[in-house]
Symmetry: C2
Subunit: 390 residues, 2 copies
């Protein structure tokens, strides 16, 4: 794990950072993000092994953690590079030394396109998705202006109802436009069905992905019949990657959540109706109690602004836990007067909250004796600014 060159002597605990290296968990200024490094490393190894076994590349999604330290570790363990979802993420990863970046989204604003075309000068291989002919022209002009070549993927609309063109003919037309445009190289297709990742039921999830795979396959074959090979077919997420990896169509997996996991993935079931437990929750909010005036309860210092509730409610790991209640504007947690460890995941879309009993035991059993180490700052502009590892 690459250490960050932070000058801790210049930083004030509480105001600038939640803790100093070597502090015990009980000294951390809460709320703070804590990474269980054993769980994190286990997750990285597990998915890499799965991808290696299936003969597909792993391009980890950096929008999940927005942390170059984590990305460098994932690449050191075998990932071919990262994806990211925004220009500002791509710039931050490139400046942090990531050498292979797919901007798995559209970039349309003229100034952003110019920023994009300047990035390869930082020494990174850069690719980007398109779903519109005008965009191809704008990207080509910017690449020419800055004297670079850009790798381009055509994005297929794959069920999320967002960006992407339809499978087949519309994708073929864009591929042909890319090939005709100077300074651009057509590399293949992106077919990512985000909405399928959290379909709890295995059959429902499989049906959604089967459709996505079929559309990618049909489009690939159409392009090949026109003499256009697809070097890359990229997509897949934590909830569905075994299906895309086994499809024979995909060459590259874009999983992100698996590295830290989130609570909602506990509800996603495998073929046998059991939770997908091969990835562990690895990112937690460490919080402390600030009021026990309420009879039989306590209030912690991690409120709504410390997390996000878009996908799943927080789950608490401290024992004994009596109950939990989510008030409209704040969270009142009923537990004993002790520091509690609330697991948190900054998942693909937003910070969510996660737990598993095993992780609870892991964290709580080391809460007194374990010394903290810095994990690494998150990207420039990201809201989770510093993380700490056990």
């Amino acid at each position: 794990m690459q250490e960050q060159a932070l000058d801790f002597d210049q930083l004030e605990v509480g105001y600038d950072i939640p803790a100093r290296p070597g502090m015990a968990l009980s000294q951390v200024q809460t709320p703070a993000l804590i990474i269980d490094l054993d769980a994190f490393e286990s997750n990285i190894a597990r998915l890499q092994a799965d991808c290696d076994a299936k003969g597909v590349a792993l391009r980890v999604h950096g929008k999940m953690h927005k942390c170059a330290t984590a990305a460098h570790y994932q690449i050191a363990q075998g990932a071919v590079g990262i994806c990211c979802q925004k220009m500002s993420e791509a710039e931050s990863f490139a400046r942090a030394g990531i050498k292979d970046i797919l901007l798995s989204n559209q970039v349309r604003d003229p100034l952003k396109i110019d920023r994009l075309a300047r990035l390869p000068k930082l020494g990174c291989k850069l690719s980007v998705c398109v779903d519109d002919a005008q965009n191809i022209e704008a990207l080509s002009q910017a690449a020419g202006k800055h004297g670079i070549e850009l790798d381009i993927l055509v994005e297929l609309e794959s069920g999320a109802g967002r960006c992407g063109v339809g499978a087949g003919q519309p994708a073929l037309e864009l591929a042909q436009a890319i090939i005709s445009a100077p300074h651009l190289s057509f590399k293949g297709l992106q077919a990512y069905c985000g909405t399928a990742q959290h379909i709890y039921d295995y059959e429902g999830r499989k049906a959604a992905i089967d459709k996505t795979i079929e559309e990618a396959k049909v489009t690939k074959e159409l392009l090949e019949s026109h003499g256009i090979p697809c070097e890359i077919i990229t997509g897949a997420g934590t909830g569905t990657y075994p299906m895309e990896a086994a499809s024979g169509v995909y060459t590259e997996m874009q999983c992100g959540s698996y590295a830290f996991m989130d609570a909602d993935y506990q509800r996603v079931l495998d073929e046998d109706g059991k939770p997908l437990l091969h990835f562990q929750n690895a990112l937690f909010i460490f919080t402390s109690i600030m009021s026990v005036a309420k009879q039989g309860g306590a209030i912690c210092d991690a409120g709504l602004k410390s997390q996000s509730l878009n996908l799943a409610f927080p789950q608490f790991m401290a024992a004994p836990i009596y109950a939990m209640r989510l008030a409209r504007m704040s969270m009142a947690i009923l537990l004993t007067r002790m520091a509690c460890c609330a697991p948190m995941i900054n998942c693909c879309w937003c910070p969510a909250i996660a737990t598993r009993p095993a992780t609870c035991t892991t964290i709580m059993s080391v809460s007194e004796g374990t010394k903290l180490k810095p994990f690494g700052p998150s990207l420039h502009g990201a809201s989770l600014s510093k993380s700490w590892r056990l």
Copy 2:
């Protein structure tokens, strides 16, 4: 409005800042926060006039904007000071020169209490709430250690089911403990019913606040009957302040949301069943379109991580707007291929989204000609790092 001493020459548009002073709205790197300063100043003036007319002090809540520039302006217009909800907010406001701060919450962690007791040395008057006798002892010791006096309020549990002791005897006992403790001054009561602020129905909202007011009144009278005067009774929010201000019990209003407003407050109705429209939406997300591949629709670049959905869905101001759809993991907005102005409020608890037709007209009519000026960075550590004003 106090200008911030930012060195814009050292900052890169897109990576560091969304725009430079003097840029047109069309050049802003999106998503970006935009403040309608006319609306903001009108809101500040309106609430200050209301409080002045009722003879109550206004202590604006800084957790809404977490921006010292905004707080300095509110104080210059007549506010007695600010409240904030966390130690890190109090430190940031104090370092930014705010001279009168109420930490309207409990501070329990020993290191945080030490940080609290160091703050008055920065030249600010500081008060804090308590709901527990042990906390009084800890605050007293820290104040003694650092050679300062701390002003203390007893927090009443006022309907939110969070911090605070019961009205009457429990509050009296805490007041007596404060008076007995060295280095502490008992100042009065905090009785804030957060859950009442967004009760849409006027009668329901009034019933909740009448109960809160009655409990504050009973407690104040009990303390007075024991020779303990309450110099301050503080509470109230944007949704209910006319009730507390007219009560004859409260001396101080803690409104926060009124300065920028949020979408949900449009649903809060007055006595006549009409929306409370005397405050205007003043904070917006400026976003741009990145895909129009979807038939009849478009996708913008302000996703879930650019906002929060805890309280209300975003509402869009660009015309013509055809429809809007909130997918599970991203937001697809169906509108024309144009930059759109989505109004946003970082409300009391989290960033939420707001709009009103009048504001729409205001923003859109100036979108081409208006030059941007920096408004001011938000507090150290806050997630909304820079705002711009029209």
